[in-house]
């Protein structure tokens, strides 16, 4: 039995404890194979009818592997046993993030487990990496530049006060307003609904992102980026093939995406390489000298999952905004009536 299977079994066993579900599909990523030194034959990448490496299908990047290396960890890879312990700790942390005691703020919420939204109820890919970040070697995001710190402080000063966060729709965060929910690039796992669909044509790659229902349309014909005056939530992506790897450069982000504090000058380079029938190695490099002292890179596997993806048409059912604003207006009305009553006495 190889290490990958052992790890899958172990993960399955540990996940029975804190999390409950009907069915789980667990698997380890390519890294587990390379670390375990198994002797797989070189993978022959399938081709599309156009002769390009085939990345098509439904994929997920659902994982407990953190972006940054935990404070008490100094090595790049765990042993399988250590990986199990780290995943168990993450699962326990996930489970402890909501207090289901009646009458507490966290209890005013539906149960994520009942709706299958905890990570263990989606195909869970895992590998032996201690962090997604591969460069710098310490697995941490590099220090922020002075310019980056100043910009962050200015942004913070512009935010509405806490008391006004739900007072008007413009003050409600953009994710709740279904405008942008962190689709990227870089494409990091969202809290839930971590599904992707890739479709390829001769001159385009399309990536559907389940969370927030975003679509990335990536031209492959070498056209330049649009002028700097054109700014987009997902940036502007241009792709090309380097051997079996799809390389995508994205620029022209708007100034409200702010990935991890990045400026609108952010440039993201992504690399997609099919390494097995059920795995894409996804690597990305973050380049923004006005925010970080140097570039940084990360890697995580995308694992095959079943489709299709149900459309996450966020605006369609977003009754929450109207309910929240109506709640604030009702509270204001009650307060005004109470004040008037007091004044009349």
């Amino acid at each position: 039995m190889n290490q990958r299977l052992l790890m899958s079994l172990g993960l399955a066993l540990l996940l029975t404890c804190p999390l409950a579900a009907g069915q789980h599909v667990l698997k380890a990523g390519k890294d587990a194979v390379s670390i375990a030194k198994t002797s797989d034959k070189p993978y022959v990448v399938p081709k599309t009818p156009d002769g390009q490496p085939d990345l098509q299908g439904y994929w997920t990047n659902n994982t407990y592997t953190p972006l940054e290396r935990p404070a008490n960890v100094t090595k790049e890879f765990y042993t399988p046993e250590e990986a199990l312990a780290a995943a168990k700790k993450s699962a326990e942390r996930e489970a402890s993030q909501i207090d289901s005691t009646p009458g507490t703020v966290n209890d005013v919420h539906y149960d994520f487990t009942q709706f299958g939204l905890d990570k263990s109820q989606t195909v869970l890919n895992s590998n032996l990496r201690t962090s997604m970040i591969t460069d710098p070697p310490d697995g941490k995001i590099p220090p922020v530049t002075d310019e980056g710190k100043k910009r962050a402080a200015a942004k913070a000063a512009q935010r509405p006060p806490q008391s006004a966060t739900y007072d008007m729709v413009q003050n409600i965060v953009i994710g709740s307003r279904c405008i942008y929910q962190g689709a990227g690039p870089p494409m990091l796992p969202p809290g839930y609904n971590p599904g992707y669909q890739i479709i390829q044509g001769e001159n385009y790659v399309m990536i559907l992102i389940e969370a927030g229902h975003e679509t990335r349309i990536i031209p492959l014909d070498g056209r330049p980026h649009p002028p700097k005056t054109v700014r987009e939530w997902l940036g502007d992506s241009r792709g090309h093939w380097e051997g079996n790897t799809l390389v995508v450069e994205t620029t022209n982000f708007n100034d409200r995406v702010n990935f991890r504090g990045a400026s609108e000058n952010l440039k993201v380079i992504e690399r997609f390489t099919r390494t097995a029938d059920d795995t894409i190695r996804y690597q990305f490099t973050i380049d923004d000298p006005s925010t970080w002292e140097k570039t940084w890179s990360a890697e995580l596997p995308f694992t095959k999952m079943d489709g299709p993806i149900f459309e996450h048409a966020c605006h369609e059912g977003n009754y929450g905004i109207a309910n929240t604003l109506a709640g604030v207006r009702a509270q204001e009305k009650r307060a005004a009536e109470a004040a008037a009553k007091k004044g009349a006495q």
Partner: protein, 140 residues
Amino acid sequence: MQRKLVITLLGTGLLLAALPVFAHHAFSQEFDINKPLQLKGTLTKWEMINPHSWFHIDVTGPDGKVTEWMIEGGSPNTLIRLGVTKYTVKVGTELTIDAYQAKEGTNKAVGRNFTLPDGSRLFLALSGAVPGGAPDSPQK
């Protein structure tokens, strides 16, 4: 070689709710922590929509009067992948829902727990759910 390992697990222990890092919005702003209630009713419609699904139930009061309530639940995407559809949660299903009423004061609430008449919790009880579609789904 495809090393897909599919393991069916039976959840037997204490069920703990897991809150992903990304929660869509602050529910305590939409619903009133001081208005917990338990509703027993019949499902009349399930809006399987995003970002949150909504359950419409008819609740019959002690005086026989029927009142319609709308109950907010979670995103349906994973349920659908697990084979839960409108064919597995049918109109007419009896539900007991622990909930918190909306601050705006109408018959809306967030459903903390959805329980079936036999005491099992909705969805978690659907152990027959399989990826690709439910057994009684007409698509299969």
